[in-house]
């Protein structure tokens, strides 16, 4: 059984989606239950895969028994194993949250659509992570993208359809760039298997076709993970989608596209090519500080909570890309840790925004006065997330920033330290004002104080689990640090 785990990771949500559809036709609550169990199952399988990779090394699974250069290969190594666990865990958490949320905020008539699309999205994401075949990446990318576009539009909010349309246009442009990149590589090498490409490409590094392909990959995936300045679609899509969808988009979809770019950069191409042959790191060194600072300032200017969180995502993506560009093990470990931490933080924060909107129907933080009295638990958890976003010690956010800062110093680029710290300070300001409004101001309308919180535990528990993990990984950082460092060493060590 465990022999087939790599393919099961993808098949479980795929068949889950089918089952959800048919079972949901009979009874709606089954849709939620099946989604939850499917994501839980793929999380358990992912965890088992990561364990076995750490114990025995790279796992290669031949789909249908066809040997790699011809057949499709699924690869679990330190890097994909780590990301699989992150993505499947987050999707499980959000699935649990989604049950009561979807019923009230999206409405029973679209409940089924939501869960089927959600599982298809997860199928696409996990497939992108595990596959070792570059064309297969594109296939899963489209599965994930199409369900993603639909999910953005699934809510009741007016404007979400336009946001979804924008997302669709730019997302498709990105996907086409990726497809063109794949086509270029296939044209000169005649292969689609990543490991095979890796062996054949070094002789062709001088070729313009290969260089073009590389640039297409950066732009294509860059559009998909909202690399500054290709981020414009993200703001409306993430802020107008239902909160559960915003959470999965920010926590998982951005991460997987970033993963795909890293996979192409480090395992299809080589670190030597990326860091020496093309000036991509110089470009990143210019755009990431701008992304980090501009997005922090813009986040400060927002009063709509979801728009604020969306801006903040752009800066956080900047941190991860900065770690990649710094080109040493410490910084790359920081990037990988930040992928996990940002998934937990931003996923959790969007869910929290969902909880508060669910209860009060208020999108603007200026209306959140006195929330510490009416929703004490929510506010407490919000504070934990805020502290972690700022990067206060003993929270997970501190650990990844520590690695990035030390990595910047090791690379001799001390001038990124002020960038990291100024962004932390700005983050502190934009989270602190919410905390202060919540705890140290009375509600505008005294009637509010009497309105007790009716948020179901199914929504609160995932948020609390993720908040606990933020604290736990801030104290016992060696637990995610182990796999992250192994993955970083593997990516940089493969010369």
């Amino acid at each position: 059984m465990s022999l087939h785990f790599p393919v099961l990771v993808v098949l479980i949500p795929l068949f889950g989606a089918l089952l959800t559809f048919f079972a949901g036709l009979f009874r709606r609550t089954w849709a939620w239950h099946i989604t939850t169990y499917a994501t839980l199952l793929s999380f358990v399988v992912s965890l088992d895969l990561l364990m076995s990779v750490r114990a025995t090394g790279r796992i290669s699974y031949w789909l249908g028994g066809w040997a790699p250069p011809w057949g499709i290969e699924y690869v679990v190594d330190y890097f994909s194993g780590y990301i699989l666990v992150v993505i499947s865990f987050i999707s499980f958490m959000i699935a649990v949250f989604a049950g009561p949320y979807v019923k009230k905020q999206i409405g029973p008539e679209r409940e089924l659509n939501f869960f089927v699309l959600y599982l298809l999205l997860i199928t696409g994401l996990l497939g992108m992570v595990i596959t070792g075949d570059i064309f297969n990446v594109y296939v899963f990318l489209e599965i994930a993208s199409l369900s993603g576009y639909a999910l953005v539009a699934v809510g009741k909010k007016r404007g979400a359809v336009v946001a979804s349309y924008n997302y669709l246009i730019l997302g498709t442009v990105g996907a086409v760039f990726v497809l063109l990149g794949i086509g270029h590589l296939y044209m000169v090498t005649g292969t689609l298997n990543m490991a095979d490409l890796r062996e054949r490409l070094p002789d062709l590094y001088h070729s313009r076709v290969v260089l073009t392909a590389f640039v297409f990959f950066v732009i294509g995936f860059g559009l998909k993970f909202a690399l500054f300045p290709l981020h414009t679609w993200l703001l409306s899509a993430h802020s107008l989608a239902p909160s559960a969808v915003s959470a999965i988009l920010a926590a998982a979809v951005l991460k997987v596209n970033l993963y795909a770019l890293m996979r192409v950069m480090f395992t299809v191409f080589t670190p030597a090519f990326v860091y020496e042959a093309v000036p991509i790191t110089e470009i990143f060194f210019v755009i990431t500080p701008i992304a980090i600072l501009v997005s922090s300032v813009m986040a400060l200017a927002q009063t709509n909570i979801k728009r604020m969180l969306a801006y903040s995502s752009i800066g956080q993506i900047g941190f991860i890309v900065l770690g990649i560009a710094l080109a040493n093990e410490t910084a790359l470990t920081g990037s990988l840790l930040h992928m996990l931490n940002h998934a937990l933080m931003k996923g959790g924060l969007f869910l929290l925004a969902g909880v508060i909107i669910y209860q009060t129907d208020r999108y603007h933080i200026t209306d959140w006065k006195g929330l510490g009295k009416t929703m004490p638990l929510t506010m407490l958890v919000f504070t934990i997330y805020g502290l972690s976003m700022v990067g206060v010690p003993l929270t997970a956010g501190f650990v990844s920033k520590w690695y990035l800062a030390i990595g910047a110093l090791e690379a001799g680029r001390w001038y990124f330290i002020p960038v990291i710290l100024v962004s932390s300070l700005l983050t502190a300001v934009y989270f602190w004002r919410i905390i202060e409004w919540g705890y140290f101001h009375e509600p505008d309308d005294p009637e509010d104080a009497k309105d007790r919180c009716h948020v179901p535990w199914a929504m609160m528990i995932p948020i609390m689990v993720m908040a606990f993990l933020l604290l736990f990984f801030g104290v016992a950082a060696f637990i995610p640090e182990g796999p992250a460092r192994q993955a970083a060493a593997m990516l940089l060590g493969m010369q």
């Binding site: 206060v392 010690p393 650990v399 110093l409 705890y439 140290f440 016992a476």
Partner: protein, 509 residues
Amino acid sequence: MEAIHSPLPFYVMAVSLIAAGLIRLSKDRPNLREFWTIGAALVKFSLVLVMLRHVLAGQTFSYRLLTVFPGLDIAFRVDPLGIFFAVTASLLWIITSFYSIGYVRALDEHAQTRYFTAFAVALSATMGVAFSANLFTSFIFYEIITLCTFPLVAHKETPEAIRGARLYLTYLLGTSIAFQLPAIFLTYTTAGTLDFTAGGILAGKGSDTLIAIIFVLFMAGIAKAALMPFHSWLPAAMVAPTPVSALLHAVAVVKTGVFMILRVLLDIFGVDLLGDLGLGTALAYAASFTIVVSSVIALRQDNLKARLAYSTISQLSYVILGAALLAPAAVTGGIMHIVLHAFGKITLFFTAGAIYVAAHKTKISELDGIGRSMPFTMTAFTIGALSMIGVPPLGGFLSKWYITLGAVEAGQFPILIVLVVSTILNACYFLPIVYAAFFKPPQVAAPARSNPGHGHEEEPHIYWPWKKFGLQEAPILMVAALTFTALGTILLFFAPSGFLALARMIVGG
């Protein structure tokens, strides 16, 4: 020095953290709640005394709580400097606890549970800083102090209190993230470790410029020491209830700042390195500037607590000055000033709070003749003020004496002028208050309030017997507390041996 591996320092830190939980749980039973505060204070102090005995015998305690990731530990170590600070803070916490109870009950304050909870957490974090074995651990507790004292400063929840608290948070959190954290990053990449080690860890590890940059970042980043120009948060924090100003903004928070500076000077840079690069002298002059300028500002304050705050800024720089002179006698004086200033200043704040509770006065210009109705309070005030000025036989004399000796030893004669000028200024801003209180006729102002409070009709739940004697003092608990600290100021002059022995151990290595 012999090291004992024992979780005792962790327990000392954790005692008041547990108490904070219990305080929160017994929010509906005020007497039980206050019992936890007093109980934790007593247990904490006794545990500190147990460790003190071992430390005086030349042993240290060390305990590693956990490794966050390789290279970054949360670890505790109890050495003479740490225990010196811990004894001071934990002893004064006991007294302040009694005083606090008197204060909040007499004024019938709101959110008392939040108040006592935050207080207990602040004390835990203070112990955490005192017992930190490395920069990372001390940075964590340093930040916890800032965060958990925010509710105390914002306690009144008036727009003014929120503004003050916001300034407080901005300064302390801002400087620690903007300057202290990069200093820690640079220290880590330069020295490869963050452990406090006698003699320093940076010597010979980096270029002079790099060391100087790290030094400046640390001095700017430890804003709790209120070295100018990073001092404005302290007067802003005076919107807090007076017991908070007394223990936190005269002892725990600000002393955490100077304590961290001492740690960084002695155990990160090392006296030799600072001497070689001339950084000690530079710091000594920065401290001198702070001493004189803040004293001048203090002269112009009419709000009693604001004047005390500026006096604190000036007095904190004595500690820094002593350490920066690098001469053994001066360092001894600087360290001694931690405890001597603590007793004197807490007495002064206690009296300010007592005056507020009993007479509802906050301005110095309103204090004429108040010594007649509040003789105990104003006597204690006089003792505290004289100790600040440095008059024997009061504690404050000792530290000035040692710093003077050290300045001579180091050949820094301009510093002597600073000391003289500062003493004169101290006298100028304290003695007029004493004079007005005892010798000027009382103002015929608004009728004194027998029961100040927020418009509540019923008597506060506190023993308040003074009316029988024709006096108008604050509740007994408060007067007892301030009398006790005033006596402590005198006692420390005659019997400083325990503290002095510790200070000598620190200087001797």
